[in-house]
């Protein structure tokens, strides 16, 4: 297991956002975290990424506890993340944005530059590397988020709704990129996603959250047939 969360809970002013949730990500696996709005996905995500610590429970990354560490320490440990609401360094060029991430493991500017350039090529942003990040369209900004996170050379990548707002073809392109990185480099991925098309195509395992609790887990085929999942989440959608 590269990531193992055990009975983690988090309350906000008495409201239990996550209640004793346990899940894990195997080395090299792609795991999808799904659930209706308010299920606690982003809260879990933020606990793993170090935005805040869980009230109780433990999170192990490569067998070492990471709960309570700061976001930068967690990134340094090997967990990269993207933001659901993209946060580009607007005043910097696309390449410089990615170089900021690359400096985590690369000591020299030239090393950081070449690593960043190759990641941008992989994500199809190569031709736009010298543009200011503020000039990018939303799909490109999403790719930039991913490129920046990849530049920190993570062992586990956390993706927070990177597909939201993308057209189906753009979504498929990004899915292909993640599959390729996962296959070639063995990068483990934990993704929160609303776009079921992407989750089904990517995730080997799905964890379903509802009211802050894990109600189901398993392969995508298994999960979509689970009565509890259908009732709370997918069921609502099929009625429409």
């Amino acid at each position: 297991m590269i990531l193992e969360a055990t009975r983690i809970s988090k309350s906000f002013r008495g409201l239990k956002a996550v209640n004793e949730a346990s899940f894990s990500v195997e080395e090299g696996a792609i795991v999808g975290l799904i659930g209706p709005n308010g299920a606690g996905k982003t809260t879990i995500f933020n606990m793993v990424a170090g935005v805040f610590a869980p009230d109780t429970g433990s999170i192990l990354f490569q067998q070492k506890p990471i709960h309570g560490l700061r976001a930068d320490q967690i990134c340094a440990a090997g967990i990269g993340r993207t933001f659901q609401i993209v946060k580009p360094f607007a005043g910097l060029s696309v390449l410089d944005n990615v170089m900021v991430g690359a400096f985590l493991r690369e000591k020299t500017s030239s090393g950081a530059r070449s690593l960043s350039a190759s990641i941008l090529e992989k994500l199809g942003l190569g031709p736009k590397r010298d543009l200011p990040a503020s000039s990018l369209t939303l799909p490109d900004r999403k790719r930039l988020e991913v490129a920046r996170a990849l530049a920190t050379r993570p062992r586990l990548l956390l993706l927070d709704e990177v597909m939201a707002g993308l057209r189906p073809t753009e979504c498929d392109q990004l899915v292909a990129v993640f599959r390729e990185i996962n296959r070639a480099e063995g990068l483990s991925i934990l993704l929160i996603e609303h776009v079921m098309r992407a989750v089904m195509a990517l995730a080997g395992q799905i964890v379903v959250l509802h009211h802050g609790e894990v109600i189901a887990r398993g392969s995508p085929e298994h999960v979509v047939r689970d009565p509890a999942v259908l009732e709370c989440y997918l069921g609502e959608e099929t009625e429409v």
Binding site: D72, P88, F89, G101
Partner: protein, 320 residues
Amino acid sequence: MTRASAALAVVAALLIALPAFVGNYGLSVATLILYFAYTGQAWNVMMGFAGQLSLGHALYVGVGGYVAGGIFYHWGIGPWAGLWVAMALCALLGVVIGFLAFRFGISGVYFALLTIAFAEFTRIGFDHLDWLGGPGGLFLKVAQRDTWDVFNFRGPPLMYYYTILFLTAAALALCAWLLKSKAGYYWQAIRENEEAAQALGINTFRWKMVAVALSAAMTSVSGVFYAFYYNNLFPEQVFNIGRSIEIILGPVIGGVGTLFGPILGAVVLTVLSDGLTEILAALGWEVPGIKQIFYGVVLLAVIMFLPNGIWPALAKRLRL
């Protein structure tokens, strides 16, 4: 890039040769410009690069000047020793202020208020520090000005001119190098979006502290220069908030966060305001406060028409 390097070489050559063409007045104006260019560059490290607004940089100028001046005044030890004490002390001061602010999540304008507060109560403190002259001021003995006493930093205006020219060039080179290094990338990331910066593994607290300490240490050097150039220091004057504002006007008008903005801003402000004072004097209008009004008008014009400062627009026009 070669165009830019060539332009820089020409400007450098002109500045080195300048004393041959101008008199004492011209030299004093040039010294003042370079003084503001250097100090603005130092302030720019903190605000322009790392995005931490200081409105109390007079603190470091004053403490730097008083420390090196006091060491010279009491023990006769020249600034080449006092300089290091001043830099260390100001870096420490910056770290204390930075710690208080960043540890307790004070940022933006509230951080700026904290920097003003520190400058202000240091001013009041120095008013009561009789060892350094108190409110009556600290006066360094003005030695004969004809020979270069480099060791004690006493000499003709030419010596001060070349010293501040060297400092400005060194600060420019340092900043140019920093911007291309990891530190520059990390600071700019923090400036643009601190949360995203932290998510990329940047210890934002530590890097902000580094920016504050470096900026403070660099600024203390201009304080040392100030003390030995003007030979007198008054708490009311050096720690005045007006002085802090004066420091930031150059970079703001020239272009915050740019390498040449602080230099260009210093040139524009000093030349125009001194020129205006001259013209008004020639016309026989001695209007008190005209310089301040002029500053205000230029600032308004720049904010209205060139919100990123003069340098970015000029660089684009000149294709540098």
